[in-house]
């Protein structure tokens, strides 16, 4: 078992990475009071944009990730136009965006079916990667994994330590009050939603260009929905979101190994396990209604008319 551990831990980090990007983006959007159920769609749009850019230019993830971010941000801007400027129902707009994303990515992806990309080489961090057992697991990863940790640190720092973070929370809690003291509520929400889209796009592009660097239709496989659920169960706190993402990643890798060992459980059930385990654990730890209510952005999902 000990032989497996570095492998499992290393896999956990990689499998959690798309959830971290998508989840952090959705967390920021929801902090501002906008619930965007289009994460799955934005991930797929980001995935195909990233894959296409990487395949056409031959530069791989270096060009794939920015392309995915741009595409995700553009998709989020469309959502923002309907949900924020036209104050349409956010849940309906988000669902529509997801359906749109599934269709669009499949349509463009037709050209790339069975096309594969080179992927990324892990980067070993000097000294740290020499720690026995954990070193190779945690400090010999591709650069996108390290980027996800930087993104986490930046988002957590911004939310708790800066005026911008305070402002996001304020807008999410009482948009009328924020408007009354003179803040541009709609513009701030646009910013948060577009950031969320860019992050979902990066998550999708990571899946397509690094994690499984070949094009498969519908390759996000519900991870966008897990990201949305993670945000709620993490009670809108980045640290808890990270825990949830790693849990998902851990069970994902674990069940791969279980399949490899030939445990006689139907594959479909094993494949469902990460989703199930993540939801159950998160529901259990976020059971406290007061905690949920104190952290819930009070205006979440409600359109704001200045």
């Amino acid at each position: 078992m000990l032989d497996y551990l570095p492998l499992i831990l290393a896999g956990t980090l990689a499998a959690a990475t798309p959830l971290i990007f998508a989840g952090l983006g959705e967390l920021v959007a929801e902090r501002s009071g906008v619930i965007n159920l289009g994460v799955e769609g934005m991930m797929l749009i980001g995935a195909i944009a990233g894959f296409a850019a990487a395949a056409e230019t031959g530069y791989g993830a270096v060009i794939g990730l920015p392309a995915g971010a741009l595409a995700g941000a553009a998709a989020a801007a469309i959502f923002g136009f309907f949900a924020l400027s036209l104050t349409a129902n956010q849940a309906a707009c988000g669902l529509a965006l997801t359906i749109f994303g599934i269709g669009l990515s499949a349509f463009i992806g037709q050209h790339y079916v069975s096309y594969s990309l080179p992927g990324l080489q892990p980067i070993a961090i000097p000294l740290l990667s020499d720690i026995p057992l954990l070193g190779p697991a945690l400090f010999r990863q591709d650069w996108v994994v390290y980027l996800s940790l930087i993104a986490f640190a930046l988002v957590a720092w911004t939310l708790t330590k800066t005026r911008l973070g305070l402002l996001l929370k304020a807008v999410g809690e009482a948009p009328e009050a924020a408007h009354a003291i003179g803040y541009p509520v709609i513009a701030i929400r646009y910013g948060a939603v577009i950031f969320g889209g860019a992050m979902a796009g990066i998550a999708g592009a990571y899946l397509a260009t690094v994690y499984t660097p070949l094009w498969v239709q519908n390759m996000s496989a519900g991870r966008g929905w897990i990201a949305v659920a993670l945000v709620v169960f993490a009670t809108w706190k980045p640290t808890r979101l990270m825990l949830g993402a790693y849990l998902f990643g851990f069970v994902t890798i674990l069940q791969f190994h279980a399949q490899g060992l030939g445990i006689s459980v139907p594959v479909q059930l094993l494949a469902a396990l990460p989703y199930l385990a993540t939801i159950v654990v998160l529901v259990l730890i976020s059971r406290d209604r007061k905690l949920l209510q104190l952290n819930l952005p009070a205006s979440l999902g409600k359109p704001f008319l200045p």
Partner: protein
């Protein structure tokens, strides 16, 4: 007051909304260090005018002069830069943020919470408005929240401070403290615009007054030289109506008994009820004073049946009903007029006739199990005629009525159900003076016909006008009711601050 130049001068300000002219040719001027009252009823256009000054609403026409220069304030941030601070009637604070975070959000300066906390403490102490900068706002009492708003304005070094109905949520003692602070600010040269409809407050505080009615200026006055009656005439255009409370001669027996009711609130922003006992007899009005958020919502829910409690905690006409839901309590003769008229007392988009059905269906508005709309229609027509509801008839949508008329309709609807017990929350909140007087008289007349009435209100004057006995709900505890003749505003105010429990309001509002 050395400068002869007015700090703020408004010239011919007008603002029209599609259905109403909110401000019609308003002019006024405020000198440095002057406390200037804007006096008027709800709907007179005071708040619109203040929002225009603060840049939250744009005037259709008119000019604004600031220290003699013409200015065009297009948003609140610009108003703040000029030195205009505003304390809102409905506070613009963020509940899950701390005091210092709330203040940091409006200041245009480097983001340094630690340094700001020190300044908040300093300024709040200098003006006698003690505040702990690190407390979360949702754990503060309403009076403390207002201090946050005022300190927030003071840190911006204002030249003009606008206060919109600042005392509607304060105890009488807190009002006196606020006035001291305002006088001190005025003596330092800050101009103050004080919006209110409370005549005695304006007389004791303000140097001058502009009186508004129906969007127009109807007069200016030196409040100290006027009488409440003369100010009221300018404000409402006629004499101030008074209510008469005739003695009750019918049988006296308890109708509502609350026995040792305790209820833990599961809302993190709520208040738990602690050991509440109360009796309301036939033929009397018992008033419960206190500031909203001290358990009012929870007590109302427990009494109306929206929250069910222990069977023996609530008794209605001798029957234990604590475990019954709202519908079954209504079947037994309870009626309830909630604080929120639109959305809880009535469905905004439905006609009055259909709104009559909501509770009036107990009066047999059905035939073979189906709704008899003709009977609902007749019921609504009767209610409109009997309670002087000005509206477009029983087919008018509830939301098309003014606050006062809708309240008359809702109260009337409940009275026509021939209740044994009526529970009313904030009966005249947002209602004009004429309709308020009518509603108060209606409640008095109803009680004298042998109905027990419980009124929960924030308006002390109202409770003193209609109640036979007055109790105070503070921090989830209810004081023993006192006969109105024995109660005085002073002691009731102290109780509102929670002093009857030997702890003061600050302590009892500590975070849960």
């Amino acid at each position: 007051m050395s400068s002869p130049e007015a700090r703020l001068k408004l010239l011919h300000i007008s603002k029209r909304y599609p259905s109403v002219v909110a401000n019609d040719d308003i002019s006024l001027s405020v000198m440095p260090g002057e406390i200037h009252a804007i006096l008027g009823e709800n709907g007179a256009g005071k708040s619109t005018l203040m929002k225009i000054i603060y840049g939250a609403v744009k005037a259709d026409s008119g000019e604004m002069l600031w220290d003699g220069r013409q200015v065009n304030v297009s948003n609140p941030a610009q108003a703040r830069r000029l030195g205009i601070g505003m304390v809102f009637q409905h506070f613009s604070l963020f509940e899950t943020l701390s005091v210092v975070e709330n203040i940091a959000l409006v200041l245009d300066e480097a983001f340094d919470l630690a340094a700001l906390a020190v300044r908040v403490k300093e300024v709040s102490e200098r003006y006698g408005l003690p505040l702990d900068p690190h407390r979360l706002v949702h754990s503060l009492s309403v009076g403390e929240r207002q201090r946050v708003e005022i300190v927030r304005c003071l840190l911006q070094d204002p030249k003009l401070l606008i206060l919109d109905e600042p005392t509607s949520v304060l105890t009488p003692q807190a009002v006196q403290k606020l006035f001291e602070t305002l006088r001190r600010l005025a003596s330092e040269g800050v101009s103050i615009l004080y919006i209110s409809h409370k005549l005695h407050e304006i007389q004791s505080l303000c140097d001058s007054a502009t009186i508004m009615r129906g969007g127009k200026v109807t007069g200016t006055a030196i409040p100290r030289d006027e009488t409440p009656a003369s100010l009221a005439r300018m404000m409402i255009g006629r004499e101030l109506p008074v209510c008469v409370a005739p003695p009750y001669h019918g049988p006296v027996h308890p109708v509502l008994q609350v026995e040792r009711l305790s209820l833990a609130s599961d809302d993190p922003f709520g208040t738990s009820l602690k050991d509440i006992s109360l009796t309301v007899n036939a033929g009397e009005i018992v008033g419960i004073a206190g500031i909203s958020g001290n358990g009012q919502a929870e007590l109302l829910a427990a009494l109306s049946g929206e929250t069910t409690v222990d069977r023996e905690a609530v008794w209605l006409a001798g029957e234990a009903v604590g475990h019954l839901d709202a519908g079954r309590r209504r079947d037994r003769g309870l009626v309830f007029v909630p604080e929120e008229r639109l959305g809880r007392g009535a469905v905004p988009a439905l006609s009055l006739a259909r709104n009559a059905l909501l509770t009036g269906h107990r009066q047999g508005m059905k035939r073979w199990g189906l709704v008899a709309f003709d009977k609902a229609q007749a019921f609504a027509e009767q209610c409109i005629a009997r309670f002087d509801v000005r509206c477009g008839g029983p087919g008018a949508a509830a939301r098309s009525l003014s606050g006062g008329n809708l309240q008359k309709f809702i109260v009337g609807r409940e009275i026509m159900l021939a209740p044994k017990l009526m529970i009313v929350a904030q009966p005249t909140w947002g209602v004009d003076v004429g309709a308020s007087a009518f509603l108060r008289q209606t409640l008095l007349d109803l009680s004298r016909s042998g109905v027990a009435i419980l009124v929960i209100s924030e308006e002390l004057e109202e409770l003193f006008e209609i109640s036979d006995r007055i109790a105070v709900l503070a921090a989830g505890r209810l004081s023993a009711p006192q006969a109105r003749e024995l109660a005085d505003a002073e002691s009731v105010g102290l109780q509102m601050a929670g002093l009857f429990t030997d702890t003061d309001a600050e302590v009892s509002h500590a975070p849960a």
